[in-house]
């Protein structure tokens, strides 16, 4: 069954690319507006080995990595803390509930005002953007640990700290991981979006710049690269998650 599914996935990529190619070559749209798929793909490869793109790619990657990791390190402990301490929960919950439906993208202009349009504002936006989903999933993960597990550990004389690391942390990992996956998607949107707004450097800037300069083929090529990166990162995360969960 698994093999069949994998074949389907490859198949659908082939079909979609074929549709793109067909639509482009059919002449319905002028070739500047919709360049054929193969040409675009070649363009992507050319861009990767060229000079400009890797520079921007690195800039985006650097921001994203810092923002994402800091967010992880900050949010997950807070979430678990919320599950452990009623007072912390009581303090944070209303704040989180109020800000949950608010798009964190709204913070971008303010942060740019405060911190300039450079790296710091973007990293901060990523941290803010990922914070809430990570905290919520960490909270639910830690909350969901069966009380019977914790009680038996206590009965066996385990200290509180040990309980935290040996029992609660591993048991909440699956929920935390699904939160991380969602945070990954959000962080990518935030990085890309903020770069498209700030227009200084990074993949988002590069993408939008090519649009403004009328270099449409570059736009498509960069889109393919971005999609590929997004897909790859998600795959890597899933693999890491699977391995860690097995080990636990």
């Amino acid at each position: 069954m698994r093999k069949e599914i994998r074949v389907f996935y490859v198949f659908s990529i082939v079909i979609l690319s074929g549709l793109w190619e067909g639509l482009a070559r059919s002449g319905i749209f002028p070739s500047e507006v919709l360049p054929p798929f193969v040409t675009t793909l070649c363009g992507s490869i050319q861009l990767i080995v060229a000079d400009e793109l890797p520079k921007h790619l690195l800039a985006s990657g650097y921001r994203w990595a810092i923002g994402f990791s800091i967010s992880l390190v900050l949010s997950v402990p807070v979430g678990i803390w919320m599950a452990r301490s009623k007072r912390v929960y009581h303090f944070l919950d209303p704040l989180l509930t109020l800000t949950y439906p608010v798009p964190k993208a709204a913070m971008i202009p303010i942060l740019m005002l405060w911190m300039g349009a450079g790296d710091l504002s973007k990293v901060t936006v990523i941290i803010i953007g990922c914070f809430i989903p990570l905290v919520i999933s960490a909270y639910h993960g830690a909350q969901g640990v069966e009380t019977s597990l914790i009680w038996s550990a206590r009965a066996m004389g385990m200290g509180e700290k040990k309980i935290l690391f040996r029992i609660i942390l591993p048991a909440s990992l699956p929920t935390v991981f699904s939160g991380i996956r969602m945070a990954l998607a959000i962080s990518l949107i935030v990085v890309l979006g903020s770069e498209m707004i700030a227009r200084q450097s990074g993949l988002g800037y590069y993408l939008f710049n090519s649009l403004e300069m009328g270099l449409y083929q570059t736009t498509y090529s960069v889109l393919i690269i971005i999609s590929g990166i997004g897909f790859l990162l998600d795959r890597i995360l899933s693999l890491v998650m699977k391995n860690v969960l097995d080990w636990v």
């Binding site: 439906p101 608010v102 890309l192 988002g204 449409y216 736009t219 960069v222």
Partner: protein, 261 residues
């Protein structure tokens, strides 16, 4: 009697949301103290005043209307198309094998990257944004509906069949009501996503709308206005989320599980 009840209600709110009031008060104090340049952090009171000024004497309502039009058109389309699609994916293996791969593949891709391409085709007015919102919110709605419809117990369908329900009726008489809890979940995510996307797209490239208002006031150093735009967005976001939750409670009163989040 009524004043006593009002009092205790107010007290309850204060106690529950004390952290919010704390933060708000801090904000006001810091804003007024002059420790931070007023352009960077205008005090809450100033923002509130400006809010009403823009609401009644300026274009806040207009911009809000633009944003909301885009968002709800995109979200509405995503729901109208996505829910039937999700249910059909669960019911018919052919539809599933056709759609599941591109949906699962496309999920982790930051679809905001498609925005420039949409601009190429549709320009910077409403259509490109509506399309972007549609694409972004369709994913969670279809996937949630699909996974929910898969969970429908075969025996329920069999019961309905033995009571004279025909094949086509089964979809909306049995599968749809059973999938409704999942549809709500998907719609909630779609709501949040579409909110993010509409403002993001307006901040990137737009001549009107709340996102544009934010950017232009920020560039013009009218930061109180920026905060007003943010406040409006927050209020809207909260309003929609709460309304959705209360609608969900009403429509799903038969559902055994407790409330979500």
């Amino acid at each position: 009697m009524k004043t006593v009840r009002a009092f205790s209600a107010v007290r309850r709110i204060l106690l529950q949301y004390y952290s919010v009031f704390l933060v708000a008060s801090l904000w006001e104090i810091v804003g007024r103290s002059g420790a931070i340049h007023p352009v960077l952090l205008p005090p809450v009171s100033k923002v509130a005043v400006r809010f009403f000024e823009l609401l009644f004497f300026d274009q806040l309502l207009y911009h809000t209307g633009q944003s909301m039009f885009r968002m709800w058109t995109g979200l509405g389309l995503a729901t109208l198309v996505g829910v039937p699609l999700g249910i059909m994916m669960a019911r018919f293996a052919s539809v599933r094998s056709l759609l599941e791969p591109p949906l699962t593949l496309g999920f982790p891709i930051p679809k905001v990257g498609v925005y420039p391409v949409l601009i190429i085709f549709f320009g910077v007015l409403h259509t490109s944004k509506i399309m972007l919102i549609f694409i972004e919110s369709a994913f969670p709605i279809v996937m949630a509906t699909f996974h929910g419809a898969l969970l429908v117990e075969q025996r329920l369908i069999w019961s309905a069949e033995s009571m004279g329900t025909e094949e086509r009726e089964i979809l909306w008489k049995v599968i749809f009501p059973l999938t409704l809890p999942h549809i709500f979940m998907g719609f909630r995510i779609g709501l949040i996503v579409s909110l993010i996307v509409v403002f993001l797209s307006e901040m990137i490239a737009s001549a009107e709308g709340l996102g544009h208002l934010m950017m232009s006031s920020s560039r013009g150093f009218r930061s109180a206005d920026t905060f007003v735009a943010i406040a409006m967005i927050s209020i809207l976001g909260l309003l929609f989320d709460r309304s959705l939750l209360s609608l969900r409670r009403k429509m799903l009163k038969w559902h055994p599980e407790g409330e979500h989040h």
